[in-house]
């Protein structure tokens, strides 16, 4: 794609994650090593690449997938109104709003709770696979995908916030009470795990493949 460029790794330079100080990597030390190199200025750990990036991201993504199943099957909210108990899962809530003509709310919930987390998970899986297969296909677009993933990740928390606010607000005793269901915990787990997974993934790995092929 491009001519061989001088990368920081090739030059033996490290950039601090915290204070951006450019330091020279200690000779002999290499990216995967367990010797910790530290920033001489702020003392943060320095890595050539995020350590164990692929493994950690995989583990987190798989955990997120596992959590996503109960998050959708188990009730998100348990509404007790006049003695009538009703528990709603994410999808039943979405269907309820759509059926009652409140499609904007339904759509928001659908996007925040279903579309976003799933998109994130699938993007991460795709990125992981593509990195592991040393794909050279459209690294720029893949990097953009990664940035999108990072950016939208936190918006999935909307759902959790809605539930927590409802639980706190609707405390009318026998008239109406809303309680968070066990599904909410799993859903929160999904959101947190995907955010961490996105953090552990090192987008530079995408470009490493470009370098190595260029070298060869």
């Amino acid at each position: 794609m491009t001519d061989a460029l001088l990368t920081a790794e090739d030059a033996g330079l490290l950039s601090c994650h915290s204070c951006s100080l450019l330091t020279r990597a200690k000779s002999g030390a290499d990216p995967g090593a367990h010797e910790e190199q530290h920033c001489p200025r702020c003392g943060s750990a320095l890595h050539m690449r995020k350590p164990d990036s692929l493994t950690r991201t995989w583990a987190l993504v798989i955990a997120a997938f596992l959590c996503y199943i109960p998050a959708n099957l188990l009730p998100m909210t348990v509404v007790t109104s006049l003695g009538k108990v009703q528990s709603d899962t994410i999808m039943s809530g979405v269907i309820y709003f759509l059926q009652h003509g409140e499609w904007p709310i339904g759509l928001v919930i659908l996007i925040a709770s279903v579309v976003v987390p799933l998109t994130k998970l699938f993007i991460l899986v795709y990125l992981l696979i593509s990195v592991q297969r040393k794909s050279q296909w459209r690294p720029l677009e893949r990097t953009r995908l990664y940035r999108v993933t990072e950016a939208i990740g936190r918006w999935s928390m909307t759902d959790i916030y809605v539930v927590t606010i409802l639980v706190a607000l609707v405390r009318l005793g026998n008239l109406a009470t809303i309680e968070a269901g066990i599904g909410a915990i799993f859903f929160g787990g999904v959101v947190v795990l995907t955010i961490i997974a996105a953090m552990t993934f090192d987008p530079r790995e995408i470009w490493d493949n470009m370098e190595s092929t260029n070298d060869r």
């Binding site: 493994t55 583990a59 987190l60």
Partner: protein, 515 residues
């Protein structure tokens, strides 16, 4: 993983570190494992709560929502409607229900399901909670028995559920009356049960009621208990007067039953489950009909029977012995006159406890003897205000001799006219006689007699006058009479003097008057 060189070690004796690829798994895999474990545990939890799936068939799915409608027993959720489908023939609705775990034991053949909705009827208001919370399916679980998967839902709320202690009984009635399902059953005016169902008997001759009496009142139902219809307001206007009878306001609207052991009898053994009783029309009927022997007799009345209705009492010296069954009008072609046959029913037992023991012939012989002695029926006014009549039986020894006839298979007892009728008749006879009296002739005769009398009086005057003259003061007769009277008084005086003297001188009778 990669070469690890200790670059600045020139000495050969110092061994080079062995490079080993990192073994084992990264600690980060604990996260998905933990997630998987938690997920598995939660999955097991929810799976373990899932009980059997059953299908209930209903006539319609009014108020039922898939995924929302609950199955409740004593307000405890025991299941959830999963799916509502139409049957293939489009006649019924199949409701698929996911029951909770552990419900298999009470999902047996006798278990019943029904939809609870707000129900407001004359006596009860129930299921108001469903107005806000939506309908739910109620279950009447019956323990013991095989698990059954398919049920037919009840269309109406059952009155009695299996968990209610008490007993069922059956009643036979000639008609339904105003009794409805759920109609109250009273014992001494306290509600102790309800009518569960009613239906025509197979031969459509009677209406069979199924009733339920709650514990502990069911033991009040004895073998000889009598049930009667306490429905509504029993207003009876009879020869006995005006009578209003009512068990309660509720029974006024929705009908009701009452039961009691006849007051003069000993309560019998406790009635058994599903024992069959007769349902009497009213309280009076319930206690009167202990008499089994009934004798139908015809009476022919000549006069008006206005005020005589079926049901009017037949009395003997003021004691009711039967009732009027029918009053008809018949034309007697022989006499060219209308007659009124009144069919009455007499209960001979009321006239003597032995009547039931006697044979038919014996009773007839007695009756014939009675009639010979003047046993007659008569219409009498029972209530002056309303003009109600009743049939009075009594002995009238002066009555004309009559015998018992047979007409249309009924015995005909002789009657005597009504007292009023009798009086009217008597007065009529007098009037007729008066009418026949020859007032005109008597008048003429009287005039003639009076004229005779006139002359007689004139003659009499003459006679009196002559008498007058005879007795006048200056008449000869009078003077002679005065003279005679004087003579007589003279004589009397001298006689007195004589007797005085003789009294003082009795010897003078012998010796003569002294000197």
């Amino acid at each position: 993983m990669t070469d690890n060189t200790a670059g600045n070690a020139p000495e050969n004796e110092i061994p080079e570190a062995v490079v080993k690829p990192r073994k084992g798994i990264s600690i980060v895999w604990i996260i998905p494992i933990v997630a998987a474990l938690i997920g598995a545990w939660v999955a097991y939890q929810s799976w373990s709560e899932i009980g059997p799936t059953i299908v209930i068939t209903f006539g319609n799915a009014e108020g039922l929502v898939a995924g929302k409608t609950k199955i409740k027993y004593k307000d405890v959720e025991v299941g959830l409607v999963k799916q509502i489908d139409l049957e293939k023939d489009l006649k019924h609705v199949q409701v698929t229900v996911q029951m909770n775990k552990g419900s298999k034991g009470f999902l047996t053949k006798k278990t019943r399901f029904w939809v609870v909705k707000a129900r407001i009827s004359a006596g009860t208001v129930s299921g108001l909670g469903t107005l806000l919370g939506g309908a739910y399916i109620a279950i009447d679980p019956v323990n013991g028995g095989k698990f059954v998967k398919d049920y037919v839902g009840l269309e109406a709320v059952p009155i009695v559920t299996t968990d209610q202690p008490g007993q069922h009984f059956q009643l036979k009635a000639s008609r339904r009356g105003s009794l409805d399902v759920g109609a109250p059953i009273y014992f001494r005016q306290i509600q102790v049960g309800e009518v569960v169902s009613y239906q025509l008997s197979e031969d459509a001759e009677t209406v069979n009621f199924k009733i339920f009496v709650n514990d502990p009142h069911h033991i009040k139902v004895k073998e000889n208990t009598r049930f009667w219809n306490a429905s509504g307001l029993d207003i009876s206007l009879s020869a006995a007067g005006f009578n209003v009878d009512m068990e309660s306001i509720v029974s006024l609207v929705s009908g009701g039953l009452a039961f009691e052991v006849p007051p003069d009898t000993e309560p019998g053994k406790d009635a058994e489950e599903n024992m069959v009783f007769t349902l009497y029309d009213d309280h009076t009927a319930a206690f009167e009909q202990q008499i089994t022997l009934k004798e139908k007799v015809l009476l022919y009345f000549g006069g008006s029977v206005r005020g005589l209705t079926p049901g009017a009492p037949v009395e003997f010296r003021g004691i009711e012995i039967g009732e009027v069954k029918s009053v008809e009008l018949e034309f007697d072609p022989e006499k060219q006159d209308f007659v009124i046959p009144v069919l009455i029913e007499i209960e001979p037992e009321r006239m003597g406890k032995n009547a039931a023991i006697f044979s038919e012939e014996r009773r007839m012989a007695i009756l014939s003897a009675y009639v010979e002695r003047g046993f007659r029926a008569q219409l009498k006014t029972g209530n002056l205000l309303t003009g109600q009549l009743y049939v009075d039986m009594n002995f009238y020894p002066d009555a004309e001799e009559e015998e018992i006839r047979m007409v249309d298979g009924y015995r005909v007892l002789p009657t005597i006219p009504t007292s009023l009728e009798e009086i009217t008749k008597g007065v009529n006879v007098v009037l007729d006689k008066l009418k026949a009296f020859p007032f005109d002739k008597i008048g003429a005769d009287l005039t003639r007699t009076l004229s005779h009398l006139d002359t007689t009086i004139v003659q009499a005057e003459g006679t009196l006058k002559s008498i007058d003259t005879i007795f006048a003061e200056d008449s000869v007769l009078s003077q002679e009479l005065q003279k005679s009277m004087r003579e007589l008084s003279e004589t009397a005086r001298s006689l007195r003097i004589l007797t005085d003297y003789l009294e003082r001188h009795p010897e003078a009778l012998l010796r003569g008057k002294e000197k």
